[in-house]
Symmetry: C2
Subunit: 193 residues, 2 copies
């Protein structure tokens, strides 16, 4: 039976974006954002929601830039480390062994080892309450050549993105067999009539 529940945000699936930033001294760091996603196609934009108390918050505001990096399943521990600890207490890149690569356009560090990375420049922000929503225009996208299909699009089953359910406290992965082809399987309903 469908019932009202007092858990306001069981939103599935959520991403586990590693948001990369430089701090005031230029030390690379970042955090994990499950509260984020694409918010515009043209210009391409990705939004992330960040609490003001987060160490990364200052970096985004000061440099008007951040990166979004998609971890693979194999990088769950490194991603989770960025979600647990604060950059105030140390260099999270050094601790995890991940490599910060300076963005070519945006003033923020990419995670070299993660399969997909976006350089973003802040074009809008909104204070919503516990979180500030930052909208970043994607100015450059990076991916591994060996993950691209013939159209140049990264294949999700090669990328193996982490799927996050933060309030359930778990990371998941994609099943090998896709569920259905998009913009296609729905036509079976009309054809069936």
């Amino acid at each position: 039976m469908k019932v009202a529940v007092n858990k306001p945000l069981p939103v599935y699936p959520a991403p586990a974006f590693l948001v990369g930033v430089y701090d005031e001294e230029g030390k690379p760091g970042g955090m994990i954002a499950a509260w984020g996603g694409v918010c515009c196609s043209e210009p391409p934009c990705i939004s992330v929601a960040v609490q003001k108390a987060r160490y990364s918050f200052g970096g985004i505001v000061a440099r008007k830039a951040f990166t979004v990096n998609v971890p693979s399943e194999a990088q769950a521990a490194e991603a989770d480390y960025f979600g647990i600890f604060s950059g105030r207490d140390g260099d999270k890149f050094a601790a995890t062994g991940l490599t910060p690569r300076r963005g070519e356009i945006a003033d923020a560090p990419l995670v070299e080892e993660f399969p997909i990375s976006f350089e973003c420049e802040v074009i809008h922000s909104a204070e919503l309450g516990s979180h500030v929503l930052f909208v970043g225009k994607v100015v450059k996208t990076w991916a591994f050549e060996e993950h691209l299909d013939e159209r140049g699009q990264p294949d999700p089953l090669k990328v193996r993105p982490l799927v996050f359910a933060p309030q359930f406290g778990m990371y998941y992965g994609l099943r090998d067999e896709p569920v259905a082809r998009a913009f296609s399987v729905g036509r079976t309903i009309r054809e069936g009539k």
Copy 2:
């Protein structure tokens, strides 16, 4: 090798939110939004990005409300139907056999059969380009009792949410075996030092 790619938005994972709205005559309809996600914890908010040309756009603006409904794998065809066809051409609920339930608080229809539904009231919007970003405050959350764990949280492996990769043109599902426990697996890195 990590290379620059000219596909700006291979953002994984994306959701396949069915955004439910009423049109001017009160006919229930909606669309699929892959561009969306949580954007604040307190108040709980979910954002969805909608093109002005979409029939659903007018409903959101007029009623300052929408619902977000999470489809399960078994509902891929129904969800995809909402993503392919326009409400201008007919009643998508009637065509798919889905049941619109009037929101108790928000002036928008829930999808009764989908495992999780959120009633949202618009508290912020931003014109970003091709899409307008709507931020909806979650005023009520619905889920199936039989999907809840002992904390009252819907279990992702019971919900079986569709995972969408719109630009790759495919829907995926979660693998049964979780990848790792969140806010936990990252500690192995610090302990290892």
